[in-house]
């Protein structure tokens, strides 16, 4: 065996396969290019895509939505071009706050829209994550959704900024009842159910297979607890599946202006946003987004050893993920 053969063998031994995350570098490359001057004409299809991607966000416009102010004090630096949006889906029932006056964050998402507005990444943050909360959330190690419970959207905003080091430009909270209306305005969403569901609590009954869910069914599906392996992560996957299905459906149906109007009207009242996030800003964001499918990822976590029902962020993986979004 000559030295070149041995060297080639050694090379093969040292080689690693490219990970799926490599695609982020593609985005990084395209994100590096200078932004074109002037707004692209906003097509309804593009807006529709954004509607579905940024789940309830569109809904900001009008004067009826509740507003919160941006956090104060020291905050992560603004990165030119990219926009990060925090989306909190809460599980209080509209009008009947079962949980007292606090609302629990039930779905916590960070939507990253890069400068070129193309490859949107949606990061799900497990609500059972044990994290150090800022003063507004009690200042202790606790579940991340306690921040919403104690300090509302603004406190969750601060918490996520501190944990990720990412500047969050806008924040939106919506109730699942808004989600229900949104799905109905789309005419339902089509998803695949891997095994039959019969959940007495939510009265959700579904057969196995591909089917169209109504708003009510979709919400029950997203919140189902005793299904799959019963974990929060499993639920996150279902929520991601649902969002992707909504993005698809939105692209098909919302090119019709009448339907888009219905859609916006259907959900407008159920959301809270920050003051700077109006419909115009939203449409601006939507401009370059048409046709792209968002990437859904989850913060890497592992079981929290003092309590197996909770998780903690896996480092340095989590930090690395957020670094790629800078």
């Amino acid at each position: 065996m000559d030295e070149m053969t041995m060297l080639r063998d050694l090379g093969r031994e040292l080689e690693h396969e490219p990970p799926p995350t490599l695609v982020r570098q593609r985005r990084r490359m395209l994100g590096a290019r200078r932004r074109r001057i002037g707004w692209l004409p906003v097509s309804l299809a593009a807006a529709a895509t954004a509607v579905a991607i940024l789940v309830p966000v569109l809904l900001a416009g009008g004067g009826t939505a509740t507003r919160v102010r941006e956090p104060e004090g020291v905050r992560p630096a603004v990165v030119a071009g990219a926009v990060n949006i925090l989306v909190v889906g809460s599980d209080s029932q509209a009008g009947t706050p079962r949980l007292g006056k606090g609302e629990r964050g039930d779905a916590l998402l960070l939507v990253h829209v890069p400068e070129d507005r193309k490859a949107v990444t949606v990061v799900s943050i497990p609500r059972d994550s044990m994290v150090k909360l800022p003063a507004c959330g009690g200042g202790r190690l606790d579940m991340i959704n306690a921040a919403y419970d104690r300090g509302g959207l603004r406190c969750t905003w601060t918490t996520v900024e501190q944990l990720t080091g990412l500047r969050i430009h806008h924040a939106v909270a919506f109730d699942f009842s808004g989600f229900e209306a949104m799905v109905d305005a789309l005419g339902g969403v089509e998803i695949t159910v891997p095994k039959p569901v019969d959940d007495p609590r939510s009265k959700l009954r579904l057969d196995k297979g591909r089917q169209t869910l109504t708003g009510r069914q979709a919400v029950a599906w997203a919140r189902l607890r005793d299904y799959g392996d019963g974990s929060d992560l499993h639920r996150i996957r279902r929520q991601q599946q649902l969002m992707a299905a909504m993005a698809r459906k939105a692209r098909q149906t919302l090119s019709d202006p009448a339907r888009l109007r219905d859609f916006v009207a259907a959900v407008r009242r159920q959301v809270t946003t920050d003051e700077g996030f109006d419909l115009e800003t939203m449409y601006g964001l939507a401009a370059g987004m048409g046709g792209s499918t968002p990437t859904f990822v989850t913060v890497p976590v592992r079981q929290y050893s003092p309590d197996p029902h909770r998780v903690e962020w896996l480092q340095p993986d989590a930090a690395r993920l957020f670094k790629t979004l800078k």
Binding site: M4, M6, L7, G11, L22, Q25, R26, L30, A32
Partner: protein, 193 residues
């Protein structure tokens, strides 16, 4: 039945198109990011490989106006950029070779009867190889590994490193000589060539 003509869009066409449509450049990423990843992962390990691939394509993208459109194949150009960027990671690369010199790694041996002898030999040889790689000058190592690990020809290595063909030959000869010397010393069962 006649097969439809296969027309390959050359890399140079993609670069040309990307001058007016920047998004077109993504096709080059799709074609070669995996290949560049494998190469740099060999040299500096997976911890830095992803970032390096990203940087390689960012540099390539920003320098696409300087691409010589007479070359249809962009691989040497991309490997050249990656090689330059690799030099920033020389510490990780050196650490990798040092680790190889220390740690035993499972060997796949073709003839079980000779497993013990072959295993010992292969392992000793690997250590010697790692040692020799670490001892090479950066220039010689770049030329050698581009040729051995990326599948480029001599001409393409010359283009990647922007050096004359004769220089590639001399660097490769020197590097191979050093490898042989190191291996000869490590392997008593090896016959003199």
């Amino acid at each position: 039945m006649t097969a439809p003509p296969i027309t390959r869009v050359e890399d140079s066409d993609i670069v040309r198109r990307s001058l007016t449509e920047p998004e077109a450049f993504a096709t080059l990423f799709d074609r070669y990011s995996g290949m560049i990843y494998r190469y740099v992962s060999r040299r500096v390990g997976p911890e830095h490989a992803e970032d390096l691939v990203g940087e390689t394509f960012m540099v390539a993208f920003s320098r696409r106006r300087h691409y010589d459109l007479n070359y249809p194949d962009a691989r040497p150009w991309l490997f050249g950029i990656a090689t330059k960027l690799l030099s920033r990671h020389h510490r990780s690369e050196a650490a990798r070779y040092r680790a190889l010199q220390r740690s035993p790694v499972e060997e796949h041996v073709e003839f079980p009867a000779d497993a013990v002898a072959a295993g010992v030999t292969a392992q000793a040889a690997r250590k010697a190889l790692a040692e020799a790689l670490a001892a090479l000058s950066k220039r010689d190592r770049d030329a050698l590994l581009l040729y051995a690990w990326s599948g480029l020809t001599y001409e393409e290595v010359a283009r990647a490193l922007d050096i004359p063909l004769g220089t590639v030959r001399s660097r490769l000869n020197r590097a191979r000589r050093k490898l042989r010397a190191e291996l000869g010393g490590a392997d008593p069962m090896r016959e003199e060539a």
